[in-house]
Symmetry: C2
Subunit: 544 residues, 2 copies
């Protein structure tokens, strides 16, 4: 069948037992002398424009050594190279599974100045596909630019409605919102995702459909929500007296039911070796972002992602930014036993970035079986959540500081604002206030504070780390995206789970179809006797 | 001092021990015969237009009886009535604390048709204040309507920028986004919250400031983020050649540094007995929502909240919707030991509702001490997170279904869409698809599914409940808001923690001020020797 994975299983690695022991006596950040200036300067790593400060994690030399040993013993970097080399690691051994390669990396292996250090033969098709699609997009964007493709009244297309759900929505949306200052003048993108008909109704209101392109994204070409919303949008275009085929683009698998030039102005392709949640740098993200930002800035995003992809190959775990973050996450999840992870960007532009990471991490690593098909006997991916600071400080940080429930935090900061429109108030700029608050939170969580008033006591010793870059640009954002993709992949490879399938979404689909049959008045196959629960729920919900 | 609370402490209540025992043998929803049509029909309660379906929680008659006993033994309803009666329950006994009344209920005790069943003397001032402020707002909105107040060029004001953070932002924003179909023609509201200067820069772009009102909200009149953003907005107005005082409104405490008629077109008042996270129905929410929706629809929101406030007095726990939900939450948190709660609205309009609940619940109940000032020896409020379905299904539901980490879920559904613009695709409407998916998820989480393929095995037995109403209107939304406020208050009263302060936000403020002094080049009092950590963090972050 397929090459067995090198390395030990997670719980069989000697480092696992070492870490278990170390966790019983994990360093306490509130003890005098533990968190000092030397440590803060030393526990820091860099890659692709980003620094990771991790002095405020509950680690010491012994823990870091054991985490590095865990990386070696599980052969995580060799496993990662197998992924890059095109091994079909999207599989569960001995059971029916997707059995596919995992090659979202190929979608940014398109930067001439960053040549491939090891061009894997089994990925040549994926790299060629990425370049072909990107070139097709470049030409299309040029045609838009030069007015060869334009609205029926001859005006340029000003708006693009992006129709997709899950990975076809969250990544592109988060990136688009994060790059508002980089938009081409007069271009806007809108997103429709939910099968809730109010989502489309709300977005379509107030748009001049004559000047609007629509990009429909579904790899299979059959996603219920997306095809339903496509129908709604087509109906709206027709109602406005427009020809849908002159407005509609799609991104879909070659040969899917959607891959039909009659119905679309252009059909771009996505491929079965790129999962939805890893597709933001494929045509799924490149089409809306290319429209919004122009080709060059969109390409800069790919460049940033590629830079971090290359950094993820660094052999030494403590110098490999995403691997280091993955190991710190495993320390918090499996050894300190903390079930969640808050991602807290001090940047309003990253307003939807945590929602993207929620899918990336939880759909990848929220798994119950190992690659061998055994039920896991350890914790897998955490619950990821978060909102931008300083807003979160005025919302849920109360719990983070004083509740018995400990929440590991990943702060994200930028040294400069995007717009550079700032004002000195009381001697400091807003950007300085923002950053002072970020660092203050990291410090407060780590050190806590004693008080004679028990309600003003902060226990501290709450693990966190800080990611910092100069400014949020297409390039640093691309690197940040790739950082988290690699982090999640490393964790899945160490746990030896399949981070690339999502069987957990299937049962709901089956039951929804059955309930829909009830709602449409068609008795589903087998009749109600087989499923008394669905009809009872419909009745109790007042829907029958 | 103050009246002692009636009832037993949480862990001292006999029902606590009973529930501990019952948790060891909690009902398993996957066992044949546990979840059947009779149970689904029976475990259901109603109030103020909402139904709660809780057959898919891991409860049985014994558990429900013990939860009711817990409510009685902790005298939660008497405690709740003390709150309503104006007892200063915002306090920690024997320690310096806010020591205030908790009277957000008063802000909707303004509906003539819903008279006060028990007009508490100690709240008469709060009720009178609410009515006075509301009447002032009604008159101001009428003046806008009739053109007595208008833009410098004589046009009507079309836009309102709402400047606030935390409770002054999340609630009004969530409600505004939820009520888009009810907006008055030509009126829009925008929100600036973050001290990140890009937040204001982004919002102010593309606005015609001449036609824009600005509403600045800060109870103390000193909130750093809000006052900084106010300065930014005033500068933008001046730069546009406008007189800020002709555009600016504020909502602030009487006598605060902001309460100055010279600087504002109107100053509305908020009061120290209404916490930020409970302020959405006070002037904090009423000003932007009144502008957006008009007075009558805003008043309908208050009516809905008032209806649920009255329902929260229902003596029988199983017929008291918010109390029942509070008890089910305590069962999941303290006895099944589940640390998070996902709130999953099947309504795109509720896109930011979970962010509001995050603050409401986590800032209220993410506490570490009891009202007696003792460190808690039990779990308090959960980590609340969530995104709308069906979007979430394509994102993080994988973890919810198959990971070993169990996540209790609260689904929210509406029988009808808001816009009513829908289409039949494959025999059913989008709204039907949306609702079928909601019910299917509740069913799938409860029952799970066996499979020979371990990767297609769903363990099930995952607790969840469903809230349903007919349609999301100002009135049902007001009731939903009050439902969660009362639920959170009931949980805090049962745990005997103070749900109404937020001491956990203070340490970060102190440290941020110290870091800002470093950044501004001023050595803070005491010098660096006293805090080597701050300067070291600044250096490691590349900020010094």
């Amino acid at each position: 069948m397929s090459t067995p994975l090198p390395g030990r299983d997670f719980t069989a690695a000697p480092a696992f037992r070492t870490l278990r022991k170390l966790a019983g006596n994990a360093p306490d950040l509130t003890e005098p002398g533990v968190l000092d200036a030397a440590r803060i300067g030393a526990l820091r790593a860099e890659a692709a424009g980003w620094s990771l400060l991790y002095a405020t994690q509950r680690v010491n030399e012994a823990v870091l050594k054991a985490l590095s040993a865990l990386a070696r013993e599980t052969a995580v970097l060799q496993r990662f190279e197998m992924l890059l080399a095109g091994e079909p690691l999207n599989r569960i051994e001995g059971h029916e599974s997707e059995n596919r390669r995992v090659l979202h990396f190929a979608s940014r292996n398109v930067v001439e100045e960053l040549p491939d250090p090891h061009p894997w033969p089994a990925t040549a098709d994926a790299v060629a596909n990425a370049r072909t699609q990107l070139e097709r997009l470049r030409i299309f964007l040029k045609e838009l630019e030069q007015g060869e493709v334009r609205a029926p009244d001859g005006a340029p297309f000003s708006d693009l409605v992006h129709v997709g759900i899950g990975g076809s929505d969250l990544g592109p949306r988060a990136l688009y919102l994060a790059l508002q200052p980089f938009l081409r003048q007069g271009r806007r993108v809108h997103f429709i995702s939910n099968v809730d008909p109010d989502d489309a109704a709300q977005v379509l209101r107030g748009l001049n459909l004559a000047h609007t392109l629509v990009n429909v994204v579904s790899k299979s070409g059959t996603t219920l929500e997306t095809r339903t919303n496509e129908t709604l949008v087509r109906a709206a275009l027709k109602k406005a007296g427009l020809k849908p085929a002159r407005h509609m683009l799609c991104v879909t698998g070659a040969g899917s039911p959607m891959d039909d030039p009659q119905h679309y102005l252009r059909a771009f392709h996505m491929f079965d070796y790129i999962g939805g949640r890893y597709s933001a740098t494929s045509m799924v993200g490149a089409v809306p972002l290319g429209f919004a930002l122009g080709y060059d800035q969109m390409h800069d995003l790919l460049r940033g992602a590629r830079e971090m992809d290359l950094a993820a190959l660094t052999p030494e775990p403590r110098e490999n930014l995403p691997l280091l973050a993955a190991l710190l996450g495993i320390w918090n999840r499996n050894f300190l036993r903390l079930p969640t992870l808050a991602v807290l960007p001090y940047s309003q532009a990253l307003i939807r970035f945590a929602a993207h990471l929620q899918q990336l991490d939880m759909e990848s690593n929220g798994k119950g079986v190992t690659r061998h098909g055994a039920l896991v006997d350890f914790d897998t991916g955490p619950i990821v959540w978060g909102e931008p600071g300083t807003n979160g400080q005025h919302a849920f940080y109360q719990l983070i500081h004083q509740s018995p429930t400990v929440v590991p935090c990943e702060f994200i900061g930028l040294r400069q604002s995007q717009y550079g429109e700032d004002l000195q108030v009381e001697g400091t700029s807003s950007q300085q206030k923002l950053l002072a608050n970020l660092l203050a939170q990291a410090q407060a969580l780590a050190t806590g504070q004693d008080s004679a008033n028990p309600n003003r006591f902060f226990p501290g010793n709450r693990p966190n780390s800080i990611l910092m870059a100069d400014r949020l640009t297409p390039r640093t954002l691309g690197a940040l995206l790739s950082f988290y993709e690699a982090k999640v992949a490393f964790q899945g490879l160490i746990w030896n789970i399949n981070s690339f399938d999502q069987e957990g979404v299937q049962l709901g689909k089956v039951l929804a179809t059955r309930l829909l049959a009830h709602m449409a008045g068609k008795a589903p196959a087998g009749g109600e006797a087989q499923d008394p629960i669905g009809p009872a729920l419909l009745k109790a919900a007042g829907l029958r």
